[in-house]
């Protein structure tokens, strides 16, 4: 365990006190929010999930003695909360036609790869493609977009091995690339 993690753990453990909880909120609320947003793709739902995450931290703070890494612990709580929330609320994803339209708009502007990647069309297209992935691959790729989480952290959140997490990420990326290529091929040649 790193020195930083030890410090955080000590802070949380000693408190039942409000300062440690406040420190945890200040340090990890952004992470919790991003994890929740990667699932819901909605700011309100992500904020609700963040609130619920720290409510659970507050509720179970006495169990913190056995926690090695508070960051991963909070990330896992945020992930569970977001997934539970997503199950309760129906997600809105693009249809096949809408994905194709988004891809054609993506291609039509004569933009560079970087510009295309930054565009709204690409974001819509990618969100729908990710939503269509098998569950294990989808979870891994969503968590990989949270910059605070390395593959080790993704594995811990998904409660799997690091090798498995890496494998899932690789396969998810392969599928996404193939689908993007197929979409581009169906609407014209790649630049």
């Amino acid at each position: 365990m790193t020195e930083r993690a030890l410090t955080q753990n000590a802070l949380l453990m000693t408190a039942t006190n409000e300062d440690a909880l406040e420190a945890a909120v200040r340090e990890h609320s952004r992470l919790a929010y991003r994890i929740a947003y990667s699932v819901s793709r909605n700011h309100h739902d992500a904020e609700d999930a963040t609130q619920e995450t720290f409510m659970r931290v507050l509720r179970y703070r006495r169990k913190l003695e056995g926690v090695d890494d508070p960051k991963t612990w909070i990330a896992r709580i945020a992930w569970r909360v977001a997934v539970e929330q997503a199950k309760r609320r129906p997600s809105v994803s693009l249809s096949e036609t809408e994905i194709a339209d988004a891809a054609s708009r993506l291609r039509s502007g004569g933009r560079s790869a970087e510009e295309a990647a930054m565009s709204k069309e690409m974001a819509e297209c990618l969100a729908s493609l990710i939503a269509a992935l098998p569950e294990g691959l989808r979870d891994a790729i969503r968590l990989s977009t949270v910059e605070e989480l390395a593959p080790t952290g993704i594995a811990q959140v998904l409660e799997t091995s690091e090798a498995s997490a890496r494998s899932r990420l690789f396969r998810a990326r392969q599928i996404l690339k193939e689908k993007l290529l197929a979409l581009e091929g169906s609407h014209g040649t790649a630049r």
Partner: protein
């Protein structure tokens, strides 16, 4: 796919995924989370005590209500079998003065024993409740005079009662005779 294309798609996907996860919460998220925690952490113990207290009070109210309701029903039960004729003032007087077993007989009407229907009709007719009878209202002047008379002249009062009973019996017998004779005349006509 050409290696050049593969690289381009890798770049595209990397950029898109980076963009996908590049989101910032609205300003003040930490403050809102902390405020929510403060609102839910501090007085939770006191609130739970309040909640338990309120739940206990509500339960007691329900229990007391049920107990009163059941007692009320029990006190109403005799009214079902005997229904005094409230409109007759003479009955009211005798009911105050004498034991009701004998004197109430002419004034009461037996309700046919129909167990399923009777309680409903009793509830609707708003008769005096035996649990509260005689009612808490003060006795009328006539009732007080009768009571005073009975107190001072018990023997005479007893004689009057007996005479009244005899008179009632004679009236009943006369009514029966009239009824019988009318039936006979009807039969003869047929």
């Amino acid at each position: 796919m050409a290696p050049q294309d593969r690289d381009r798609f890798d770049d595209l996907l990397d950029g898109a995924l980076r963009q996908y996860g590049n989101v910032e919460p609205r300003v003040g998220l930490e403050g809102r989370v902390l405020a929510n925690l403060a609102a839910n952490s501090g007085p939770s113990g006191a609130r739970s005590v309040w909640a338990w207290g309120l739940a206990g009070a509500a339960a007691m109210i329900v229990v007391v209500g049920m107990w009163i309701g059941s007692g009320h029903r029990r006190s109403n039960t005799p009214v079902v079998s005997v229904r005094p004729n409230v409109s007759d003032t003479s009955v009211q007087k005798t009911a105050v003065v004498t034991p009701p077993a004998e004197l109430n007989k002419p004034a009461v009407r037996r309700v046919p024993s129909r167990p399923a229907v009777v309680p409903v009709t009793v509830a609707k007719t708003a008769e005096p409740r035996l649990g509260q009878f005689p009612s808490s209202r003060p006795p009328t002047q006539q009732e007080m005079i009768v009571a005073e008379y009975v107190e001072h002249f018990p023997e005479e009062a007893k004689l009057i009662m007996q005479e009244q009973q005899k008179f009632d019996k004679e009236v009943q017998q006369a009514q029966q005779q009239i009824e019988n004779s009318s039936r006979n005349s009807d039969d003869q006509e047929r």
